[in-house]
Every structure is written in C-alpha cells, then in structure tokens.
Symmetry: C2
Subunit: 418 residues, 2 copies
C-alpha cells in the first residue's frame, strides 16, 4: 500500500463506520447539523472569499476561459446562494425510512419496501466550489457519508469551505467523519478510491470527458456519471420561427458556462433558408461565434466551418455549432450519436414529430418547445441537486435527496416458512 492508498483507505474506513451511524439519525439531528453549517458559512464569508481570491488569481494567470472563471468565483451573492441552498435542504422532507410500498403475502408475511441511505458516496468534481456545500448538505440529509475530491483549480476555495463545514459539525459534536475531503493532490488517490469495493458504495464523477473516462476506467464500485451537457435544439420544419429564435438565444446566451446550455442547433432544411439568416443576425448581435456545416454556410457564409469535433464539443462559451438536417430521424440519430444524453429540445408544431422525438431521443430530459436551461434539481422540484446524471441507471437527470437513497425490503413474520 502506498502512502496515498493508506490515507484514502483510512478515510473510506472512517466514512463506512460513520455511514452506519448516519443511517439511524433523526431528521432533527440532521437538520441541526445543516443549520450549524449555514451559520458557519455566514460567519466565515471573508475567510472563504480570501481563499477563493487565490484560486481566481491562479486561474487568470493560467488564462482560463471566462465562463470557467465565472464558475469558480465566489461573491457575497454566491455565498448567499450557498446558504440559501442549505436552508432549502433543511426544509425538504427526509427521504430515509419512508415506506415506498408494502404487500402482505397470503401466509401473513408483511413485506415493506423502505427507503434507506446508500452508504458512502464519493464525489469527484471540477471547478464550482459551491458544489462542496450542496453535496455535503444533500448527503448529510439523506444519511450518507461523503468523501469529496475537487479539482486543482478550486483547491483553496474547496479546502476553506470544507474547513468551515468541519468546524461547524465538530462544534455541535456531530457524528465524526460524515463529510470528508481527500487531503492530497496525488491523482492516484482517485483511482484507488474508485476501487474500494465494500467501503465505497457509489462514485459520482461530475465533469468533463477526461475525468469521466478516468473514473469509469478505474472504477470497480458503481458509478453514476454526471457528464458534460452537449445539448441540442432541433428546429423542425413546422417550428414557430419567433419561438425558435427566442429559445435558441436563451439556451445559448443566458448562461453559457453551464451544462444545460445549448451547444448545437439542428435545423430542418425546409426551414433553413428562412430561419438561419435570422438566427445569424441574432447570434451576431449577441457575440456568439457560429460554426456551421456546409449547407448552413451556403445560406450564411459568415459562419465559420464546423469540423466533426464540433458535434460533440461542450463549449461552455459563446460558441455554437449549427447543422442542417433533412428529417426528424436524422436529427434524432445525430443527437443520440453525438450528444451526451443530457437535455435536448425540439421546436415543432407537429404532433407526430413531437411524439417521435420525445420517444426516440435517448436523453435524461427531452423538451418540446422550451429551453434546455430548465434542467435543474431545484426547478424540477427536487430541492437542491447533487448534479445531473447523464447515466440511465438508478438516477437520470437531476439527482436530489431521493436519488441519493436506495431501499431495502423488511419482511415481518411470525414463523413463516416456505
């Protein structure tokens, strides 16, 4: 065992022991801990912002893209949001112990399907230091122990927030080791963590392709991927043009640095001649760089040329790929092939096309005549979110408290045999 492995193994062992205790806590005990965290965040604003400034300085020096720096930055507003998020999780009903279904066999054996915590969850994430509080609060409320591992670019911010959480929990003598962070930068820590069958119950990688691939390749414990959002809008031949323009503009420009922003627009060729020039003007005014396929550029020669790589690119910036398609089937096939199974929209007025698209697009969230920007745990009514699962197993789309639980069957008898 290397030194790194020893440190990680120790973290995981402590987390497992904590998880058994967390599973038995009352909602009141858990909410008390959350309240302590919220207070502590408020009291330590200047410490958190000072540490965050170190990360921002490094990001500027490393010339990171603007939206990435935006995601990294903690202002009083962001900290307010972090605190509000903890308070909203306090208000959510506790999923643990809820009876999902029940059934009594003819012999009198009573089966109860009961919601329980998963156990120990490892989350590996990039940028966005506010993930630390969201994840800690959600795991805590759902009775799970959690081990966090953030990205290098937010190192100081993450560590500062973690310290604030730890101090708050220690002060009220909460179950120790409920929330932990991997204390070393060594990359092998992640691949080792992902192989601790029996100690780690679930790994959630939340980030880009390199992170997701590294974790999937290394892991032997279950993984729920929170992959990039290569979100599409398909403008069908029957689309309401004004609506389509509004939605394309909103999905690309309102907040380009997030995973539910649109990255590719597919346009039916029957509407391309009238639609694309208007889209071109709109995006030009909004400073959006357009990368079109050959047919799109024949209509709007001002677009740059798209390459195959553009079809699977998550720009997280004011850049968009544009392609002309010749049928709904072609749009569906393109989305299923190049997309990331996150959020995809169709703008159409045709009932059958709508039905075909929602049935056949293999994504977590499929929109009809609406912006992809709505994919969000809070918007969907799940309270805060752990992230957006782009996988199909266990949780798909926004992952909230219920999705952080599993269930067990408890069967109550009085001597039944088979």
């Amino acid at each position: 065992m290397t030194n790194t492995e020893e440190i990680v193994h120790n973290l995981a062992t402590l987390a497992k022991a904590a998880s058994y205790k967390l599973a038995s806590l009352t909602s009141e005990e858990k909410n008390r801990a959350l309240l302590a965290i919220a207070h502590s965040l408020d009291e330590n604003r200047s410490y958190i912002k000072a540490e965050n400034a170190l990360d921002i300085k490094a990001a500027i020096e490393a010339a990171l893209a603007k939206p990435l720096i935006e995601r990294l930055t903690l202002t009083d507003q962001t900290i307010d949001n972090m605190i509000a998020s903890v308070h909203s999780i306090i208000k959510l009903s506790d999923p643990v112990g809820k009876l999902i279904t029940t059934r009594t066999l003819d012999n009198g054996l009573e089966l109860r399907k009961i919601r329980t915590p998963i156990g120990v969850i490892g989350i590996i994430f990039e940028s966005r230091p506010n993930v630390v509080t969201d994840v800690a609060a959600l795991c805590l409320k759902s009775g799970n122990a959690v081990i966090l591992r953030g990205g290098k670019e937010a190192e100081h911010s993450n560590r500062a927030i973690m310290k604030v959480i730890e101090d708050a929990l220690n002060k009220i003598e909460f179950t120790p080791h409920a929330v932990q962070m991997v204390p070393i930068a060594d990359r092998s820590a992640v691949s080792y963590l992902c192989r601790l069958t029996g100690l780690i119950d679930l790994i959630i990688p939340r980030g880009g392709e390199a992170l997701i691939k590294a974790v999937s390749d290394a892991a032997t414990v279950p993984v729920i991927k929170h992959y990039k959002g290569v979100c599409h809008i398909y403008v069908d031949e029957t689309a309401d043009v004004a609506m389509a323009l509004d939605i394309c503009h909103n999905a690309k420009c309102q907040r380009p640095g997030v995973c539910n922003a649109c990255e590719t627009i597919l346009v039916h060729d029957k509407i391309a001649d009238s639609f694309l020039p208007k889209l071109y003007d709109l995006f030009t005014k909004a400073n959006v760089e357009m990368r079109g396929d050959e047919q799109a550029r024949a209509i709007c020669p001002g677009m740059k040329a798209a390459t195959t790589a553009d079809w699977s690119e998550e720009y997280l910036d004011l850049i968009i790929a544009i392609k002309v398609v010749h049928s709904t089937q072609e749009a569906i096939d393109h989305i299923n092939h190049f997309g990331s199974h996150h959020s995809d929209a169709i703008i159409t007025d045709n009932k059958n096309t709508k039905l075909k698209f929602t049935k056949e697009v293999d994504s977590a969230v499929v929109y009809v005549n609406a912006s992809t920007r709505f994919t969000d745990g809070f918007v969907f009514g799940l309270g805060a979110e752990m992230g957006i699962s782009t996988d199909k197993l266990h949780a798909r789309g926004p992952m909230g408290l219920e999705e952080l639980c599993t269930y067990k069957w408890v069967c109550l008898g009085d001597g039944q045999i088979r």
Copy 2:
C-alpha cells in the same frame, strides 16, 4: 480488433439498433412474441431435453456437486415452469410509457417523468438453463434488447433454448436481434462486452465470486451484481426456540442449492446451551454437515470445526456454519462483514432488537421471524425475476420488469425560456 471482439461488437451494434425499435413496440406486439416463445418451448420439449442430457452427462463425468446438477437439469416439470413463467410475464402490466410523476411549473412547462426501457442489457450467468427464457421474456416485455452469455456447464441446453426462442421470433417476423446469445466460448468475449460504452447500457453478472469479480474488474459500463447468497439466521436470546428450529430447518434444507438458502446460523450465547443441542439433533437427522466455532463445538462436540473461510462460504449444499455471538451488535457486524448483502433473518421476541437488526443489517432483504427462502421476484409480486440484485444502486433484491426500466423527463412547453 480480434475476431472475438469483432463478433461481440457486431452483436452489440445489432442489439442497440433493435433496442430503439423495441422501445416503441406496443404491449400487444410484445405479448404476441412471448406467446410464440411459450408455444415453441412446448413444441420442442424433446429437443431441449436431449440437448440438456449432454450437459448433465458432462456434469456427472466432471463430478459436479449434486445441487449443481439439480440446478442444471431440465425435466418436463422444469419446462412446464419455464412456459408458465413466460405466460405469467404476458399477464404482467407493461411498465414502458407509464407516467411515474408529473409537475407543472408556474410558467406552464409540464414535466412528465416517464418509465422507459434501459436499452441493451448484457447478462452473464452460470448453470440454470431456465434463466434463458426468464431473461429473454423479461427483457422483451420491458422493451430491452438482451445479449446472453451462459456458463460452459449448460452450453448445449442454453443454445437449444436460444434456438427455440429465435425460431419462434423469426416465424412471426419480430424485430430482429432483440434476443441474442454470445456464440463463442472465448472468455475475452465477456470482458470486451463489459467495456462497450455507448452500445451496452447495463451488464448483469449472476453467479459466484469469480464471475462477479471478473466482470466488475473489466467493466466500464454500469453493472448490477447478482452475487451469491451467504444468508444468515440470527437466533436472538429471546427467540421462540420451536420457531427458530423450524425456520433454520426450512432455510437450510427445503432447497439447499438456491441463493436464498441459509448458510450461517448465529446464536446468542444466552440461548446457545438450550438451542444448539436441539439444532444439532434436527440437522443430524436431515444429514446436514455442521461446522461450528469453538464455543458451538464446546456445546455440541459432534460438529466439525469451522475456519474463517466458512463465514463467507456459499455452500449450496447440506452444509451449514454455526457461530455463537454475544450481542445483537456482534451478529449485525458479522453479517455486514462476511455476508453478501442478500437475505438475512433474525428470530427474536424483542421489539428493540428487531428494530436495530432491520435498520442496521445492510442487506437487500431483512427478515424478522421468517425463513430467508421467501426472497424471490414471484413471491414478492414482481412477476418473474431477472435475478436478485445484491447491489444497492438502481435495483436491490428481486429484479422484475420495473427494475429493468429507467425513466426520462419529457417536458412540454409553448415557448418557455429561463
């Protein structure tokens, strides 16, 4: 790409294409296919039994354990059960397209959480050729394409049943490639299959330690393990002795070759002196070999000595491990450490002990005063079962039609932007 990889990649590509078609089939179309399979099984009994005889002959020559040969054997009774199982799946309600929940946002956007097939499922299993029909029928009804890979010991039987299914589906011109079997014995086929991200959506390994470990280590696609059943009965100090004897006898002897049979009995030391001699007599009459720890053997010297390896052994035979424990906590810790998180029971008359045990034992099914033998999809009201998941993610315990589905969010708007 090796020849094996090419064959497996081709299977998976065909399955993926089939999965999109299967997702859109009506319940009537799927039930028609199931009916054709049921008829075809009935018509081809002698062919199936003749091929099965080849496997049994080989198993006897290889001196396989009796319960293993029992699991391998197809009689007219077993074939009746296979047919009955297909008919029972026809009668089950179709999970696909069911509305799980719905919510309308203030802006009028309507969110619908809808049950959908998972896509392409790979199942890797050992012995029990009747798994082929159960799995094919369940996947078909839930709109999933499936790729099966059985064990060498049931090679002829599996292939024969697969041929019967294929012929039945071809005859009614059903969606091709819905049910496929890996046609080669090469072991590398399995590890390659488990890494086909984008083509395979889920791998279910169903079998013993070596199989589960090989698949978990190799896989990059999601895995739901159907691991062995190291099931426990904990006889608490307050247990009703007659009830405890009945349940121990039933859980060990009624059908020792199945995963929900009991493999270890834990006895509280306060009841051990009175309970163990009675258990010893009962098991001696039933030809059960007992392997006790030191304290159990001090009471019943006729028991063989258990080694540490016995605590995690799935005997699948008339053998049982017996250990004296000194508290409910010790019993729980033993089960969580050595068990396989399948099915575990407590025999007790104490309310608090009952509660502690059901909360803290980390298993798919936890029984109070009942035999572990009830863990079964059919008994639990799920219809037939794909197997028993010993994992915590997505499905835990018996896996039926609903557990073979995921969901998507379909959001219907009229121009909503954020």
